[in-house]
C-alpha cells in the first residue's frame, strides 16, 4: 500500500515543542479472528515503531494485537537542531517500512 502519512512542522524555533504524527497502512491482523473459511487468520501486525532525530532515538513504541488497523501514532519532541526525522515500522512477515521528514530549526 501507500507510503505512510507523516506530519512534521517544516520549521520551528529552537527549544519549541513540536507535534509529530505518523499514520501507516497496515491490516494489524490480530491472530484471533476467523477468516471466511472459519480458520483463524494468522497474526500479521506491526510490532515496533521507532523515530530518530538526526540518528538519535527520540520515540519508540511496541505494538500489540489490540491496536486498530492503519495505526496512528502522535508524540511531541523538542526542536533542537535542523535535520532529519526517520520513522521506521517493523513487524510480522518481515514487514519493514521507513519514511523521513526534514525540519529546519532557527
Amino acid at each position: 500500500m501507500a507510503r505512510p502519512l507523516i506530519s512534521v512542522p517544516a520549521t520551528a524555533k529552537r527549544g519549541e515543542i513540536v507535534e509529530i504524527k505518523a499514520l501507516i497502512a497496515h491490516p494489524m491482523e490480530t491472530g484471533y479472528r476467523p477468516g471466511p473459511d472459519g480458520r483463524v487468520l494468522p497474526r500479521d501486525i506491526i510490532r515496533r515503531f521507532v523515530c530518530t532525530y538526526n540518528d538519535v532515538e527520540i520515540f519508540s513504541a511496541d505494538l500489540f494485537p489490540a491496536m486498530s488497523a492503519n495505526p496512528f501514532i502522535a508524540f511531541t519532541t523538542v526542536a533542537v537542531e535542523s535535520g532529519t526525522l526517520t520513522f521506521t515500522w517493523t513487524g510480522d512477515n518481515g514487514f519493514s517500512q521507513s519514511e523521513t521528514a526534514t525540519i529546519t530549526v532557527s
Binding site: 500500500m1 499514520l23 492503519n70 496512528f72
Partner: protein, 265 residues
C-alpha cells in the same frame, strides 16, 4: 440538536418491530433545509479525524491513488495521466456529478465503473476487482478532487428512468425485516438503531474509511451492509441496482458537499 426538530415535525406512526423500535408511518422526503451529511451525526472526535488530513486514514488511499494515476498499465502502456493530465484539474467536479450516462452500454455508470471502462477500453488492461485496494485508491483519488464542491447531479435526460428506478427501490420494502430504505433514512433519521445513529443516507464521502471495516470501502459495500441489515439478499457487486440507487441518492443529496475520503463509524 437539529435532528430532533426534524423528527418532531414529522408525525411518527405507531412503533412496530419491537426489536428495532422503528416507526413505519410513510413520511415525506426530507425537506431541503433539513438535509445533512452523515458527518453531522458523528462525534467530535470522528469529525476531527475526517477533517485533519494527517489523521484521516482515507488519505492513505488517496496518496496511493495518486501513484497509480501516474503508473502505466495494460497493453497500451498508458497511465491515466497520459490521457487525463493532472487530476487536480481534469477530475475536479467529476465525482460531484456522477453517476453519468455511458454511450456504449446505454446505461448509467458509477465512478468505479468508469475507471474500469478506462482500464478495459483505453488501457487494454483487465478490470480491477470490486473493493480491491487499487480500485478504491483510484476512485478515492479521483473523488477527492471534488472535495468541498456541491453535489450537482448530471442533468442528462437519459438518466431519468434509471434515477426513477432508484427512487422506487429506495421506497420498496425488502428482506425478512420488510423495511424500505425510506423507513430508516427518511422517517427515522437522527434516532438510534442499537448503538448507531441513523443518518439520512447521503453518499457524500465515498469511498469512506469506516471504523467498523478498519479500511476503505465503496458505496456499494455500504449499501450491501444496509441490505444485509434488513436480511435481504444483497445484489451482487456491480449490479445495476446499485448505480440506480446512487443516482437517486445523489439527487437527494443535491447541494451537500463532497467529503471524500469521509470517515464513518
Amino acid at each position: 440538536m437539529t435532528a430532533c426538530a426534524g423528527v418532531a415535525r414529522r408525525a411518527l406512526g405507531p412503533m412496530v418491530g419491537a426489536a428495532l423500535g422503528i416507526a413505519v408511518a410513510a413520511a415525506a422526503e426530507i425537506p431541503v433545509d433539513e438535509r445533512r451529511s452523515g458527518f453531522d451525526f458523528m462525534s467530535r472526535a470522528l469529525q476531527d479525524m475526517q477533517r485533519d488530513d494527517t489523521l484521516n486514514p482515507g488519505m492513505l488511499w488517496v496518496l496511493e491513488g495518486e501513484e497509480l494515476w501516474h503508473r502505466k498499465a495494460g497493453a497500451g502502456n498508458l497511465s491515466c495521466a497520459d490521457c487525463h493530465g493532472e487530476a487536480t484539474s481534469s477530475m475536479r467536479g467529476v465525482a460531484a456529478r456522477y453517476p453519468s450516462y455511458d454511450e456504449e452500454t446505454r446505461r448509467p455508470v458509477d465512478l468505479q465503473g468508469r475507471v474500469n471502462f478506462c482500464r478495459t477500453r483505453h488501457q487494454q488492461a483487465p478490470p480491477l476487482a470490486p473493493e480491491s485496494q487499487e480500485l478504491l485508491a483510484l476512485v478515492a483519488y479521483v473523488a477527492h478532487q471534488s472535495r468541498g464542491m456541491a453535489i450537482a447531479p448530471d442533468p442528462d435526460p437519459r438518466l431519468t428512468p434509471f434515477r426513477d428506478r432508484g427512487r422506487r427501490l429506495f421506497h420498496e420494502r425488502q428482506g425478512q425485516l420488510n423495511f424500505s430504505c425510506a423507513h430508516c433514512h427518511d422517517d427515522n433519521w437522527g434516532k438510534r438503531l442499537g448503538g448507531s445513529v441513523i443518518p439520512q443516507a447521503h453518499p457524500t464521502g465515498y469511498p469512506i474509511y469506516r471504523l467498523e471495516w478498519q479500511g476503505l470501502g465503496s458505496l456499494q459495500r455500504r449499501l450491501r451492509n444496509c441490505l444485509v441489515g434488513v436480511r435481504a439478499e444483497p445484489y451482487p457487486y456491480d449490479a445495476p441496482e446499485y448505480v440506480d440507487l446512487e443516482l437517486f441518492l445523489m439527487d437527494r443529496a443535491r447541494g451537500l458537499t463532497v467529503e471524500t475520503p469521509a470517515v464513518r463509524p
